[in-house]
Symmetry: C2
Subunit: 349 residues, 2 copies
C-alpha cells in the first residue's frame, strides 16, 4: 500500500505520543479496555465488537505501545545485550548477526557491548540490568574477574566460552577441534608440528594449546617450545613474528590459533620463500570467510558461529523465563575440521 497520506480524517502520524488513553477516548471505552485488547488478554473479557472497535481505532491512530512504559510497569524488557571481545573480528561479526536474527525472531533487540575497547563494560552492563533496561545478556569469553563481578546477575547471563567450564551456558569442544586438526596432520605424515599462538589472555587460547600438547603426546609427535610463537592479530606485527618463526623451519606443519594468524603465516612464507603446502602445512582456526580467499585455501577448524549465536540467544531466552535455580546443562558445540588446500603430505626430508 501507499506510503500513507495522512491528511484527512484520523491522523496516522505514527511517531509521536499516541497514547492508549487517546485511543480509548476516541473509541469511547476506558484505557484499560484498550490495554486488555492490545495485550491479547481480552479473551472472554471484552466483547468481540468492542475488541474490533479498539483494534480499528488503534490502527487508525497508528498507535504504538510505549515500550518504555510497558517495561517500567512489567519489568519485562525486550532488550538483550551481547558482550563480545571485538566485533571487528569477522568471527564475532558472524556471532552478532546470528544473535540479532534469533533475537528478532523472538521479538527482541540486541544492544552491542564491546568488551575489548570498553574498560568499563561491566559497570555499564550492571547499570543496564539495574535499570531493567535489558532483560539478559550474552557474555562471550569472559574471565574469572568479570564472572565474579557479574555474580549478582548471573542468572540473567549466558556465558559462552567462559573461563571456567560453565555450569550452564555454551561451551565449545575446543579440545575436540584441536584433536581433529592434529590427527589430520599426523595422518599426512607430519611428525614435527609448530604452534602459532594468539597473544591474548583468553581461556580459549589456553585450552587450544593444552589440547594441542595432549594430542602431540597421544600421537607420539614432536613439539618444542622453540617451535612456538605468539602474536596479536595486528597483521604486520603478526607477519614479523611468523617470519622469525619460519626462518629456521624445524617443523613441517604449523597449527595457528586463528585464521588471521594463518594469513600472516602465508605472508611470512612468501617472504621467506617457503611453499605452502609443499614445504609447510598450515592449519587455522575459526574458518572466517577469508580462509577461502587465501591461496592455497586454508584448512581450518570451523566454529559454527551462526549456530553459536543463535543457540546462545535461544537458551538465554529460555533461561530468562525459567524460574531461576534449575540450571540447565551446558551446551557443547562440536567443532569441525574443514580440510582444504593448505595441508599436504609431509615433505620428504
Amino acid at each position: 500500500m501507499a506510503t500513507d497520506g495522512d491528511d484527512g480524517g484520523g491522523r496516522t502520524s505514527a511517531a509521536r505520543g499516541v497514547t492508549s488513553y487517546a485511543v480509548a477516548k476516541a473509541a469511547n471505552v476506558s484505557q484499560s479496555t484498550v490495554s486488555l485488547v492490545l495485550s491479547g488478554k481480552a479473551a472472554g473479557r471484552v466483547s468481540p465488537a468492542t475488541q474490533a472497535l479498539v483494534l480499528e481505532t488503534a490502527r487508525r491512530f497508528g498507535y504504538q505501545k510505549n515500550e518504555l512504559a510497558r517495561v517500567l510497569r512489567t519489568g519485562a524488557s525486550r532488550l538483550l545485550a551481547l558482550a563480545v571481545p571485538n566485533v571487528q573480528q569477522p568471527f564475532f561479526g558472524q556471532i552478532l548477526v546470528a544473535a540479532e536474527l534469533a533475537a528478532r525472531e523472538a521479538d527482541h533487540s540486541v544492544i552491542l557491548v564491546d568488551t575489548t575497547t570498553d574498560p568499563g563494560w561491566v559497570e555499564r552492563l550492571l547499570g543496564m540490568f539495574g535499570s531493567r533496561l535489558i532483560a539478559g545478556c550474552i557474555v562471550y569469553a569472559s574471565d574469572d574477574a568479570t564472572e565474579t563481578a557479574l555474580a549478582d546477575v548471573r542468572d540473567r547471563i549466558l556465558f559462552v566460552e567462559a573461563e571456567n567450564p560453565p555450569t550452564s551456558g555454551i561451551d565449545l569442544d575446543v579440545a575436540g577441534g584441536v584433536a581433529k586438526a592434529v590427527a589430520h596432520l599426523a595422518a599426512l605424515g607430519h611428525r614435527r608440528i609448530g604452534y602459532f599462538a594468539a597473544d591474548y589472555p583468553k581461556a580459549t587460547y589456553r585450552r587450544r594449546l593444552e589440547a594441542f600438547g595432549g594430542e602431540i603426546v597421544r600421537h607420539g609427535l614432536a613439539h618444542e617450545p622453540a617451535w612456538r610463537a605468539a602474536a596479536t592479530f595486528e597483521i604486520d606485527r603478526a607477519t614479523e613474528v611468523a617470519t622469525t618463526l619460519l626462518s629456521t623451519l624445524p617443523f613441517t606443519a604449523l597449527f595457528c590459533d586463528d585464521d588471521l594468524l594463518a594469513a600472516a603465516t602465508y605472508r611470512a612464507a612468501r617472504r621467506v620463500g617457503i611453499d605452502i603446502p609443499g614445504a609447510l602445512s598450515v592449519v587455522g582456526f575459526n574458518d572466517i570467510e577469508m580462509a577461502r580467499m587465501l591461496e592455497p585455501e586454508l584448512t581450518t577448524v570451523a566454529i559454527p558461529a551462526e549456530a553459536v549465536g543463535r543457540t546462545a540467544v535461544r537458551r538465554l531466552l529460555g533461561q530468562l523465563d525459567t524460574k531461576a535455580g534449575e540450571a540447565e546443562m551446558p551446551f557443547v558445540v562440536e567443532l569441525e575440521l574443514r580440510v582444504r588446500e593448505s595441508t599436504a603430505s609431509r615433505p620428504s626430508d
Copy 2:
C-alpha cells in the same frame, strides 16, 4: 553473598530495585532531593553537606538510576539504532565498532538493525521511535522507498550514503575515489579497463559505475559493456562469474566494486592462469583487512570506515539536540586510493 534479603542495614546488592526513594529514606531526606543531587541540578539548591550525604548513601547502596523511568519521564532516551545492510561484511563491522565507541563516549548505547536480513526493519524502527525507545538512528545505504517510509522521523535519522544526495547526513565522495583509481591505472599505461560490479541495487554501486564511465571518457580510455560482469559477494558464485569475465581477457586492468569481488577475481585468475599484476591489474574498493592478506596485496579505494561511523554518531547526536529545522550541511567523506601490489604497468601486448 546471599540472593538479597534487603532487610537490615544498608545492603550493597547493586542489581535489584534500589530506588531513589530507598536512598532518600536512608539519608533522611526527601526523594526529590536525591533526584536533584544525582542529576547534578543541586547547584545552590541543596546544601553541600546534604549533597555529600546523599552521594555517599547512594554509593553505599549501589544505587543505579532506573533508565526506563528516567526516559519515560524526560523523553530523552540514550539509545541509538544503527541500521546497516549487512554486519557480516567486514566493512560494516568497522562502521559498527566505530559507532559503538563514539556512542559510548557520549554515554549512549547502540541497537543493531540488519536491513538485509530483516524485511520488516522499517516497521521495527518506527516502533522503536514510537516507543521513544531510541532517540535516533543512523541508516546506511537507504533507498528511496525507505526514505519516504521514514519521513515522519527523518529529523531523528542520519542518513549515510543515501539514495539521493542527502540534504544533511553523510555522503561519500565515491566519484572522487573512483577517479583516483582510474587515474592510477591510466598512469600505469592501461587503456582497456574492465569492471566487476556488485550485484546489489544500491545507489553507491550505481554511482561507482557512473563515475567510472565518466573517468574512462575523461582519460580517453576504452571500456565496453562486454568487459563488465556483476555478482553478489557469495564467494563461489563470484569466482565463477569472474572466471567467465577473465576467460578472454580483452582488458589489462579490472576495477572491482568491492574487495570481496577482487578476492574472487584472484581466485579466478589462478584458475585461468592469469598473473596478477603481470597480466592483469586489479583495483578493489573498501580496503577491508583482507586486502592486505591477499597475494599480491590489493590496491584498493579505502573508505575510512572508522571515521564514517564516528562522525555519523557525533552528527546524529548534534542533530538530535538541535532544534529541528536548521539542516546542517551534508558531510562529505573523502576516499583514498591505497596503492599496493595488485596494480602494475600495462603488459606489452
